[in-house]
């Protein structure tokens, strides 16, 4: 019997939780249909997370593409279907990707090895400079930090996940919370996640409370790494600094918890615990358009 997982009409890092909650009631080998027919919009997080979902299934799942032509056409231009067809049996109208999409800084790209990070950083630089300075009014100098941020979050997959993931970078106007344009980096994998990664540190002593939430606090807030090398753990700390400098937001979901460094313009919860479980790590970095009087 095939069970249906309904993708919400608008899919982002928050509404993806609805998908994960539905998934929780099925074993990994259950036959699933991921139904996105009524989905009209998806953030880069939503799209990369859907690919990750496909990756987690022991039995190949089916995927029903959005009915709305504009939506499916846009998803095609982000590269979603190109990767989805390797993970899902696709149903419905799946358009071929034609032409580039100006709001897509980086189409959905697999990250498996170190060379992939070079490729991603190389591809993003020129376009990022244009978007950050012209569309988001951010100093052109911020481009390097943006590329560094992208590099570090992608490296988390290579160094810690134990299996490949995806990255996507996009700009759009975030009407609901901000009313401004944003550039968003989404990096999702279905690997071992932060807790398991930190548990693999030799001689690590676990506290009584040790769980996904504490693992996220250790890694994201305190810069703890599974490696004893004192130089480790600087990547996420650097991401936090960059995000703070440009009044941005970073959120990381792993296992049953989600942590966020929340700027003043957002009302997200800094730490969510006891969520429905989902493998790996899912990171989102959001940099908003700078308004006059905003941060440097």
């Amino acid at each position: 019997m095939t069970s249906v997982i309904t993708v919400p009409p608008s899919l982002d890092d928050h509404t993806f939780e609805q998908v994960v909650e539905q998934l929780a009631s099925f074993p990994p080998d259950a036959k699933l249909l991921v139904d996105a027919r009524h989905t009209r919009w998806a953030s880069p997080f939503g799209l990369t997370a859907l690919l990750t979902l496909g990756q987690t299934r022991e039995t190949r799942a089916s995927f029903a593409a959005p009915d709305n032509e504009d939506t499916s056409s846009y998803w095609a231009r982000t590269g979603f279907f190109k990767h989805a067809e390797e993970l899902y049996d696709l149903h419905g109208s799946v358009p071929k990707a034609r032409g580039g999409e100006s709001s897509v800084l980086l189409e959905i790209t697999p990250v498996v090895k170190s060379e992939d990070v070079h490729e991603v950083v190389g591809r993003i630089q020129q376009k990022a400079q244009q978007i950050l300075s012209k569309e988001l009014n951010i100093d052109a100098k911020a481009t390097v930090g943006f590329a560094m941020t992208l590099s570090e979050v992608c490296q988390n997959i290579v160094e810690h996940a134990g299996r490949g993931g995806w990255v996507a970078v996009q700009t759009y106007t975030w009407r609901k919370r901000l009313g401004r344009r944003v550039v968003v980096i989404a990096v999702c994998d279905a690997g071992c996640g932060f807790r398991q990664s930190l548990e693999s540190a030799p001689g690590r002593v676990r506290s009584d409370r040790w769980d996904d939430a504490e693992a996220l606090e250790e890694a994201v807030v305190r810069g703890v790494s599974r490696f004893r090398d004192p130089g480790r753990g600087q990547g996420l700390a650097g991401v936090r600094r960059y995000v703070g400098r440009w009044d941005g937001k970073v959120s990381v979901r792993s296992g049953t918890a989600r942590i966020a460094i929340v700027p003043s313009w957002d009302d997200d919860v800094p730490l969510l615990e006891k969520l429905a479980p989902f493998p790996g790590s899912q990171v989102q970095v959001t940099i908003p358009e700078r308004v006059s009087g905003g941060p440097r």
């Binding site: 170190s114 070079h118 190389g122 390097v144 930090g145 590329a147 490296q155 130089g231 600087q234 650097g238």
Partner: protein, 189 residues
Amino acid sequence: MMMHIDLSSVLRQTLSCELYSNLVTRPTGAAVRTQIEALLADARERSLTVIDFSHVGMIDFSCADEVVAKLLLRYVAAERADREAYFLFRGVTDDHWDAIETVLERHGLALVLETADGARIVGMVDDGERAAWEKVYELGRAGAADLATALGAPECDAEALLDGLHRRRLVMLTDDGYIAVGGLGVRHE
């Protein structure tokens, strides 16, 4: 012995790819550092190596930790007391500085940057070390007595400062006194 290492060339050799000019990822950084260390293996007891960033697009934190911090740590550490390796960093721009500064702070390191008008010391140095280094750089070559006079400080303090800077490989000890890294070949008025 003086050596010049163009990091972008080392990067291309390491990756076997002409397309990449960015120093990103820890494995890349480790491979580049290994290559630098192999080049340094042929050096004599004392060497000055120019690490040239001029053709490097950007460097991320992980790569900076491997290429800059671990390289310095290895030669500042006692394990390499048999060989005095000094480094002068060239072509470092704002695009590289964030990552380099972060790893220097993390490990309590300092280095010498070549600038348009000479050289300057950056990273984790206190005011005394900075003043001493700048004075040695200005003097061209100095002993403890020269530095003490220039700083208006007791000679024992000047000696301690020079010893500290030498251990951190920020000044070179020669038979005729100390020379600031980056001070070689610089015209002094």
